[in-house]
């Protein structure tokens, strides 16, 4: 049982999805998915503990030995990502019940949970697999199910948003397999560890260089790195709240992980010496463009979506330093941003449930009408800005440290300046919510139901907790970063 945990991590949600389809009844499907996601979370915690005590786990699928069969490989970084994804997946589930009831037509709810489990399966699979082609398959499993999830939104624009994401996402994934094909041409293997051993001998060929370009651009589309982010704002804005929470805190993070895995583990960091400066520039532009555009949005969901583009910029910035501290900052920001953005979108989902709107002008006086929700929004918003004692501060601290380590004080200044932009867009909401009177004649609205408030408070609390006591997460991120740096070619 314990030895098969890596397989169970992925197979459990995969097998559960069709069962969900059979259950048909909305509440049964929900209860079943709840149990499955919590089991996934338990498995990922066990895997992380196992990795921390006994080291990396290698699991040959179907007992086919590694370079020939598909290998599942759990090292510290992938175990950390598994925990992030399954934790968000399981925290969102209790929240999902009321929110999905309100936003998805009743007869389709069981389909919603089927797709949710498939998406979870794909994301977990990307984190755990040690095979370059298998990664593509899981990428498509998660992407196809997320297109469906987005299209289940209540607006007709949900459909066009899903369609555009589908086109962009498929182009990205196809770029990725072109790259994998070229690597296979030169090395004859698809196993990541095996690729890493064989690529140095052929690293200077045109084929491998083109493969690197295809893979970085393909994954860049998936992680919505500026300027490949065009699909993201609409997809996040028009998806059902639960989908936005889940995708914003996991999907782009997993794409960042896939990029790290390919660039560091497979290519030994070699491509970074060529593209690091370009990545750094794009990251800085993303930080500013994302935040500036966010300031001018009057739809809060869209505002947070643009803020996500800026936050992805920070993660990419961390990678582009090519140093252990920078990587630590990038990896820790994966985790912190998942908590913070999850909490923010959850708060917006709560408001939407009661107000039927996510427009800024409808939020007047919401601080008095929904005090707990708005308090969580405020605290998570501070985390987004990076105020000390919140999770966001820890990641920005490491990014600034990395900038100083490389004597790039201007990058540190830019990180701080873009954080100030975050102050502006968070403040806009806070101002309307707390300092504007409730419009006269507005309907009496109650605080969000307890089943939605508890997950919201858990995520908000976690974002504060990991800002105050960050030793555990920083240790994991630092170890993972050192591990990645060790794989680099001298």
């Amino acid at each position: 049982m314990l030895a098969n945990l890596p397989a169970l991590q992925v197979v459990l949600p995969l097998m559960a999805a069709p069962i969900c389809l059979i259950l048909r009844r909305a509440d049964w499907a929900w209860a079943f998915s709840l149990i499955v996601t919590w089991c996934c979370f338990a498995i990922s915690i066990l895997l992380l503990l196992q990795v921390q005590t006994v080291g990396d786990i290698s699991y040959p699928m179907g007992d086919w030995a590694a370079p020939w069969g598909i290998e599942y490989k759990v090292d510290l970084l992938s175990a950390f990502l598994l925990v992030i994804v399954s934790a968000i997946g399981s925290v969102v589930m209790p929240y999902a019940r009321r929110s999905v009831e309100a936003e998805v037509p009743g007869p389709r709810i069981y389909l919603f949970y089927t797709m949710y489990l498939l998406c979870l399966c794909g994301l977990l699979g990307i984190a755990i697999t040690g095979d370059a082609f298998n990664l593509f398959v899981f990428l498509e499993v998660s992407s196809l199910s997320s297109y469906v999830l987005i299209s289940m939104g209540r607006y007709r624009r949900s459909l066009t948003a899903a369609y555009r994401y589908l086109i962009m996402g498929t182009v990205g994934a196809t770029f990725y397999i072109i790259g994998v094909g070229m690597m296979y041409m030169m090395t004859g293997t698809l196993n990541m560890a095996d690729l890493a051993a064989r690529i140095p001998a052929v690293a200077d060929t045109r084929t491998i260089q083109v493969a690197i370009a295809f893979i970085i651009v393909g994954l860049g589309l998936k992680l919505a790195i500026f300027p490949l982010h065009m699909w993201l704002p609409n997809a996040y804005t028009f998806a059902p709240s639960v989908v936005t929470i889940f995708l914003a805190s996991t999907a782009t993070k997993i794409a960042v992980y896939a990029l790290l895995r390919m660039v560091f583990t497979v290519f030994g960091g070699a491509p970074l010496f060529v593209v690091a400066q370009a990545l750094m520039m794009l990251a800085v532009v993303a930080m500013f463009v994302g935040s500036l555009v966010a300031i001018y949005q009057s739809n809060i969901k869209r505002m947070l979506a643009y803020s996500s583009i800026a936050q992805i910029g920070y993660m990419v910035l961390g990678i582009s330093f090519i140093s252990a501290i920078g990587l630590t900052g990038g990896i820790i920001h994966l985790f912190n941003h998942a908590l913070v953005k999850g909490a923010l979108f959850m708060a917006v989902g709560c408001m939407f449930l009661r107000l039927e709107s996510v427009r800024l002008e409808d939020m007047a006086g919401i601080g008095k009408r929904m005090p707990v929700t708005m308090a969580c929004f405020l605290i998570a918003g501070l985390g987004l800005i990076g105020v000390p004692l919140t999770a966001g501060f820890i990641s920005k601290w490491y990014l600034v440290l990395a900038a100083f380590e490389k004597d790039m004080w201007y990058i540190a200044a830019l990180v701080l300046a873009s954080s100030l932009l975050a102050v502006i867009y968070v403040w806009r909401v806070v101002e309307v919510a707390y300092f504007k009177p409730v419009p006269p004649g507005a309907n009496e609205i109650a605080e969000a139901p307890i089943s939605m408030l508890v997950p919201l408070c858990i995520l908000t609390g976690a974002s504060v907790y990991f800002g105050i006591d960050a030793t555990r997460t920083v240790d994991i991120a630092a170890d993972a970063a050192n591990f990645l740096m060790r794989g680099m070619m001298p």
Binding site: F136, Y155, R156, Y163, V171, A173, I177, L190, R302
Partner: protein, 122 residues
């Protein structure tokens, strides 16, 4: 000259890929975009299948007098990719059907105009 003929399959791959990619970007009709996406994906199938061919190699079935075999693995990979492609196309077409129901058009320009004029909420 030998590059031109010897790498025939790869030229086809590149041409198909560019045609498909161009259609995806340039066409404003949602169905045509899906067709372009398909051509784009099929080009990758051609690429994978071409690279697995070994000169004078036979199908990978053990038989008397055959010593050189083509590599079967990329074929199997592409089988997976074809399945993914079919699923993507099916989903894309299903979305187009729903979009047509909702907007009464599958032309991107009409849809964007409708989004601009009729929905001021966003």
């Amino acid at each position: 000259m030998s590059d031109l003929v010897g790498l025939y399959n790869y030229w086809i791959f590149i041409v198909l890929m560019m045609i498909g990619f161009y259609i995806v970007m340039a066409q404003h009709n949602l169905i045509k975009k899906v067709v372009g996406l398909n051509i784009f994906q099929v080009s990758v199938f051609v690429f994978y299948i071409s690279m697995s061919k070994v000169e004078n190699g036979s199908a990978p079935i053990i038989a008397d007098g055959v010593t050189v075999y083509s590599n079967p693995l990329p074929h199997v990979l592409i089988l997976t990719a074809i399945v993914v492609g079919v699923a993507t196309t099916a989903l894309a077409l299903a979305l187009v059907v729903r979009i047509r129901d909702a907007y009464g058009s599958i032309e991107e320009d009409d849809i964007e105009a409708a989004e601009r004029t009729q929905e001021k909420d966003f």
